[in-house]
Every structure is written in structure tokens, then in C-alpha cells.
Symmetry: C2
Subunit: 479 residues, 2 copies
């Protein structure tokens, strides 16, 4: 709709009223990343008040920028974070599955992360929150491009360990909150316990705000990656928010997160950098759905996150796992109030941010992400992505292509049974958002249209073999 250059010229007059800044300056980037937060949770996707609390800050953020209704991720925590950091399918990096064991896992040094790319492009980089891409020497965020990090290496369910009598004497180390700076090993701050679980997102917000405030006065643009521990179970809002929604812990937590997002955007306003800061709000994968008895962590009532109209939850190949809320605001460049149903994938953020930040993406490996910068700023209406491979763990569960999905395997939840199909099932996602009806007949043309991308993907996996899970550093790809 408008070229980057035209947009830059257009906004020059506005810039004279704020900080002394030029449109060609590299934008700051704030990436707010939720944990297990379903498509249907925020008000901007029809949630909010029906989930226990209105989300005025999130809704405003979306209204001031571009909202994507078809933003997709990998369906588990670790693979999703691997994909967003590397711009590659997690299978390529050996991160297809959430690690349960104690061994080496995560990102090998050879990978080039979003933080490394941006640091090389001149950014100050801070991360506050959950990593889940390694918990051993050389595998921490500060080994992967972040100048500083405060957070937890693993998943928040581990916060319960120290409250379990059975855990003591197991020989398994409790999870610690860690803090580190580039160039040295992170230090233990304190154990990650059920006492600290409700408090941690407050600290992450404060540290993100401190970092942005400190950096706003510097020459460098900043990149803040803020992967909250909310809304992973156990659902424990901060004491300041307990009871505040009147609708139980989920509503309280929604109110808390919304309020924190408001603090973050207010900070950008106060610092005079809002116009040239890209704020992205999204999540790692679809919602949890814990029925009573499925886990003893849901003490009194089960909390079912919601994917809105989409089927199912995390750890499945359904839309409820794949589609997450997504809003991006960049007043200097992105038109207000745009909504698009074009397909975008978390992997696309690496090349997109590289493009707007003048960063370089490596050319010696497969990058699966597509540069969405022209689409985001409105130079084109189409995203340029027609589909992607749907992985569940290391298995190809299906292929999404336009408004259709092929399923080779299905699993109805993280705890579900795997069903494998001789003939792929075909779903029409617009007619049938709950993915109930196989319409392979008469739509046998859909596999013909959708399968070439899978064939291409499989060929590229043969040409560039995936890094084995748990591969040690230093890693070098085979010749």
C-alpha cells in the first residue's frame, strides 16, 4: 500500500515532535511472548471479558497495529522457541520435543539466533523470562546473543518440585532462577518455587522496563525478548491481582498480564520511542486444558485455556495448538487497525526482523522463515506464505495449505492417543474450524496442491540432515 521509503517520508514531520530521531533509525524491538496462551484469550480475538477480565491494553495494542488471525507456531514449548529464535523448523535444530530428561539439549552454538542476528546488527539485547532451549554450560541465552538474561531455563511446572515431599532426595536438582551477562556463566539467584512463581512476571516486567529505560538514552537500538512464565500452569496470579477480577485465578492473571503490557507500552511512550519501536505480542503455542485428575496441580478447579473457535490444545496438530494471538505495533511503519488472515509462521520473524533491522541471516543453512516486512508495512496484501509443515514432536502430523489442512496423524491432546491414517484426512478450516469432517472426497485436489511443500521440505531434510537432539558443542554440519 505504501513503500517503506514513502512511509518514512510521511512520518518525518511527526518525528520532529518527539525525541530527536530519524525514520531511518533502526527500530527498537519488544517481543512479548506468552506461554500456553490460546488464540481465544485476548479481547482482540473475542476473549477477555468472557475469560474473566477485559484486556484493554492488549486490545489497544492490536488496534494500533496489525493483528494476524492466522499466525502459527510449533505446538510445544521447546520447538516453538527454537523455531522463533532460529527461523528454522525445530526438527532441524534437534529441538522437536520438549525435553524431559536431564541431559544436554537445546540450541548448539552453531545456530544463529534472533538475538545474535540483532546483536550483530548493532542492537543491545536483553531477555527476561523462560528459555527452554538448554540448561547446561554454553546453552544459555547469554551464550546465544543476549547481553543479559534473568529468568528460568526450563518450564514453570518445575516450580512445584520443592513443594513435593517425594521430590526430596531424588537427586534431581531443583530449578533455579538464573541471571547472567554475555561472556560468563549465569548465576543462581534463587530456587524457582511456588512462593516465587506468582511473583516472577512482575520481576521480568520490571527488568524489561529498566533495560529499555537504560537503553533509550544510548546510541544503540534495543531488542527485548520477554517470554513470560504466564500463563503456563500452575495458574498463580501475583498477590496484587489475586481476587481483583472477581472471576478466579485465570481472570486475575489475564488482568495482570494486560496491566503489564500497559506498563510496557506506557514506558515506550514515556521514553519517547514508541513510534519507532516494534512491539509484538504473541505466544509459544495453544492453550493448556487440564481436566481435574489429569494433573494434581489443578488443585480445586481445572483451568481450560481457550483457542476460541479452533480445535483442541497444545501438543496436537489442530489449529488450537498452531494458531496463537498475534499483534504487532510499529506506529512509524505499520498502518493502524489492519487485520489479516494471511498465514504467517513464528519462523518468519527472524528474516522479517533482520530485514527491518538491517541484520544478516546466515546463508550456509536452511532458513525456513519468510521475510514478512513488506507484508507487515502494507506494501503487499499477501504474506507470501501459503502453508507450512505441521509437526508434533519429531513427527509430521500434517500440512497446512491456504484454508485447508491435511492430517496424516492426529492426537487429541498432550495426553492423547496417536491415530495414524492410511489416507490423509482433509479439513476445510473456514467451513469447519473444529476439524471434524474429512472432506478428502471430493477434495482430492487439495493433497495435489498441498503435498509439494512437504516433498520439498523432506528433500531439504535429506540434503541438510537435522542436528541430532542432544548433539554436543562444538557442532559442525556434515559435509
Amino acid at each position: 500500500m505504501k513503500s517503506l521509503l514513502a512511509a518514512a517520508l510521511l512520518f518525518v514531520p511527526l518525528l520532529t515532535t518527539g525525541q530527536p530521531a530519524l525514520a531511518q533509525e533502526k527500530p527498537n524491538i519488544l517481543l512479548i511472548f506468552m506461554d500456553n496462551f490460546g488464540w481465544g484469550e485476548p479481547g482482540f480475538n473475542g476473549g477477555g471479558i468472557i475469560r474473566g477480565a477485559a484486556t484493554p491494553e492488549l486490545d489497544q495494542l492490536a488496534a494500533e497495529g496489525l493483528r494476524l488471525t492466522n499466525f502459527n507456531v510449533e505446538v510445544q514449548c521447546t520447538p516453538s522457541r527454537s523455531a522463533i529464535m532460529t527461523g528454522r523448523y525445530a526438527i532441524r535444530s534437534g529441538n522437536g520435543v520438549v525435553p524431559l530428561g536431564e541431559g544436554t539439549y537445546g540450541l548448539v552454538q552453531w545456530e544463529v539466533t534472533m538475538a545474535e542476528m540483532l546483536a550483530d546488527a548493532g542492537y543491545a539485547t536483553g531477555m527476561y523470562g523462560k528459555w527452554h532451549l538448554g540448561r547446561t554450560e554454553g546453552r544459555f541465552p547469554t551464550d546465544q546473543g543476549f547481553d543479559e538474561w534473568y529468568g528460568v531455563p526450563n518450564s514453570t511446572d518445575e516450580a512445584v518440585y520443592t513443594s513435593l515431599a517425594e521430590f526430596e532426595g531424588s537427586g534431581v536438582e531443583p530449578t533455579y532462577v538464573l541471571k547472567g551477562v554475555k561472556g560468563s556463566a549465569p548465576e543462581k539467584v534463587k530456587p524457582y518455587t511456588l512462593e516465587y512463581r506468582p511473583l516472577i512476571d512482575r520481576d521480568l516486567t520490571d527488568r524489561a522496563i529498566d533495560f529499555m529505560t537504560k537503553q533509550a538514552g544510548e546510541d544503540k537500538p534495543f531488542f527485548v525478548y520477554l517470554p513470560y512464565t504466564a500463563t503456563h500452569f500452575p495458574t498463580m496470579p501475583h498477590p496484587e491481582f489475586v481476587g481483583k477480577s472477581g472471576n478466579g485465578p485465570w481472570g486475575d492473571l489475564l488482568m495482570q498480564i494486560d496491566s503489564y503490557v500497559g506498563e510496557l507500552t506506557a514506558t515506550l511512550d514515556d521514553l519517547g520511542v514508541a513510534d519507532n519501536t516494534i512491539v509484538i505480542f504473541t505466544a509459544d503455542n495453544g492453550p493448556e486444558a487440564l481436566s481435574p485428575g489429569e494433573t494434581s496441580l489443578t488443585v480445586e478447579t481445572a483451568i481450560h485455556g481457550t483457542a476460541g473457535p479452533w480445535r483442541s490444545t497444545l501438543f496436537t496438530g489442530y489449529e488450537g495448538a498452531l494458531r496463537v494471538p498475534f499483534a504487532v505495533r510499529w506506529p512509524d511503519q505499520i498502518e493502524r487497525g489492519r487485520v489479516s488472515d494471511e498465514i504467517v509462521h513464528a519462523m518468519d520473524l527472524l528474516p522479517t526482523l533482520a530485514s527491518v533491522a538491517g541484520g544478516k541471516i546466515p546463508t550456509d543453512r536452511v532458513i525456513d522463515g519468510v521475510d514478512m516486512s513488506s507484508f507487515f508495512v502494507g506494501d503487499q496484501d499477501e504474506s507470501g506464505r501459503e502453508g507450512f509443515i505441521v509437526y508434533m514432536g519429531n513427527d509430521v502430523f500434517g500440512v497446512k495449505w491456504r484454508n485447508w489442512k491435511l492430517h496424516f496423524n492426529e492426537q487429541t491432546g498432550w495426553n492423547g492417543t496417536l491415530r495414524k491414517y492410511t489416507m490423509p484426512r482433509v479439513y476445510n478450516l473456514m467451513n469447519d474450524p473444529q476439524e471434524l469432517d474429512n472432506v478428502l472426497f471430493p477434495h482430492t485436489w487439495v493433497p495435489k496442491a498441498a503435498l509439494p511443500q512437504l516433498e520439498k521440505h523432506v528433500a531439504s531434510l535429506k540434503e541438510f540432515p537435522p542436528i541430532p537432539t542432544g548433539a554436543p558443542d562444538p557442532y559442525e554440519p556434515p559435509e
Copy 2:
């Protein structure tokens, strides 16, 4: 937040710029009523673009008024229309079930409808669309308070009859499009066929616009009841919209309806009556979900309407059947952009509109509806309704109370199997919008809180016995 009087004074200056009108003038009323249109369909509830077409007109209507996220109906077509017309549970009027037979059914003359109430209060009353509350002499809309009517007496699936070879010679009369005025029997216009099915909503819109245009110059305020045949199956958009969304018939139809709503509101603007016209957009019940093979009407692909995050479809006791989209706009009196999750029921519209229109509701019978006028205009934040009885047909399926629901019976779809429970199941609707987990334990206090309204309802049914289904006119209640 503000009293009606204060609001009236507040708006006087604004009114001087429009038509010569006074705040105390009775508002016009336009009630747009969709057929089988799920909570999740319009953009304002997170639908729109993901369903095949953005709905800018609906979204704007909602943004300019009050949107209710917890507006409830009866779960079948006839009972829902009975309840909205009478302000009473359909069971009281003998309309608990959609009639399949050819006998007498619908509203007896003794009932006082919304149209009668408004006509008595000085309104010109026009109805354009589907009635489904009687198809025999004395049971038509023009026998129940409407000055004029153009539409169909029954449901839109009957439009297929004349296309079926098997139908010929059955002795069953095809369904006709009818047209009538108060005081005489409606005339047949033409058979309701698959040729006319895609065209009828265009005609309904045109006639509604003509009526409003004609009435705007008169002394009387108008009431237009516009029960569209969309989006009942078969899904057949108007030729002007076929292919327009690029996303198939459902997207085309959504675009069509949105466009019609835009025409209606533009008409109100052009006539200079928008500020003092109450526009309500809602639906009779939750969505259809027709899987291939369930009915031969879905020729190529099944269309699954969506209730958004809520479970299931019409003809069930789940939220997907009960909650429908709802927006009310009344610029003179209702604050812009308000959203509320308070419970409101379709039955409440009769006393609410009576209140704002200076109408009288009968005192010789039970009116189950609650006057919501103070809530709508913002004099109070709470609706005053804590729950209602959930009927499926003539059976009590459950009780909704605040964010909880008790289920005594469950049925998973119009074609489903009835399950009856010895102990009621208890669902927490905020934690568990898919109504999956019975949390009776530890929430045995919920039945204690919720059951008194059922006991009161049952007692009132004993005191005022329901009108038997198919009761002839004249009907007089027993002494």
C-alpha cells in the same frame, strides 16, 4: 452511571443539529434477527475474517453501542422466537419444540407479543422475514400485532421441497412466501423454492428500508422486526455476493449480511433518525453444524457454524446453543463501546422495550423477562439477571447461574443422544467454556445457589399451567 433523565438532558444539544426531535420522543426500534448464527461468527466476537469475510458494519454497530457477550436464547428456532415475542419461556406458550407436523401450532391469540405491545404504545410495526410461530388462520404475524408482514411462515429448509422428486404427490403443501396486512389473511406471493432462497434476504432488506423510509416522515415511531432467513441452511448467498469473499458460500453470505446491515444503518442516517433509533442485532440460537452425510442438503462441503469458544451447536443445552451475538446501538441513550458479560436473556427484550417505548406488559400472566433498560443505558452495571432455566424442547436440561451451569441432561447436537444424570453435572463456564469437566465436587454449593430459581420456576408452572401445544383459539387460561 447516568439516569435516563440526565441522559436525556445531556443529549438535547446534540439533537438540535439533526431532525427536529426531542429526547422524550419514543425511539424507533429495528430488531435484526439472524437464523442459526453462532456467537463466534461476527468480527466483534472474534469471527469475521477467519470465517471468510470481515464484518465491518457489524463491528461498527457493536462499537457504537453496547455489546453483550452473555446474551442467551432458547436453543431451537420456534421456542426462541416465542420467547422473544412474548417475554416468556416458550414452554408457557406451548412452543417448546420446533413443529414438524402440519397441525395447528404457534402463538394463541391470547398471547401479547412485542409487536402488540409496541402497536398499543403507538408504533407502526413491520415484519420482514421468518415467523415460525404458526402457519394457520389467526396465527400469522399480522394476527399478532404487525401492521404488515412479508416473509415465510416456517423454516428455510422447506425451500428445498419443490426441488425433490420424492416430494411431489406427498399431499404436503409447499411452503409459500406470504404477504399480509393487519386485519386480513396473508396472501401467497410465490412458492419458497431453491431459486428464491438466495434472493429473499435482499427483498426483506428492501422492504424493511421502504417501511422505515415511509414511517420516518410520519408521526408514529416505527418497530421493524427483521428475522432474516440467513444463515439457516441451505447456505445460498445472493448472486451479487456469490464468489465475492473468495472463501466460499459462508464467507459470501457473511459479507452479504454485513452489507445489508450497513444499508440499514445508512438508511437510518439518511433519514436523520439514527440517534433515536434502537438497533439490535442478534440471533435465534447457536450455529448449525452439518457434517457430510448428516443431511443431503450440504452438497459438496459441510458448513459448520461456530460458537467461538463455546461448546456445541443448536438443540443442545451447551453455551454454543444458548449464547448468541448481541449488539444494541442507541446513540441518544447508550454509551459507545461498552461491553458487558452480564447475563441477559431474549425474554428480557419485551419488558425492556416496553420500558423505553412507554408500552404496557400484561399483568395477568407470568412475564419471565427482566426490564434491562437501566442496565442498557448505563444507570446500572449489573443486568439484574443471575441466571435462567435451560430448556431443550420441553425438557429442563439445566440451570445457568452466574458463571456456572448445572446440567441434568445433555445432548451433543440436534441429532444427538440424550444422556440423563442422576446427580447434576456442574460446569464452570469461565474456566471451562467447553463444558467438559464436572466440578460438582468441591462445588456442591453451586446447586444450593442455583436451584432456587428452578424451584420457583416449577412452582410458577404449577400455578400457571402452560398452554398446551397446538391449543386452538380462542384460548383462555384455566381459572
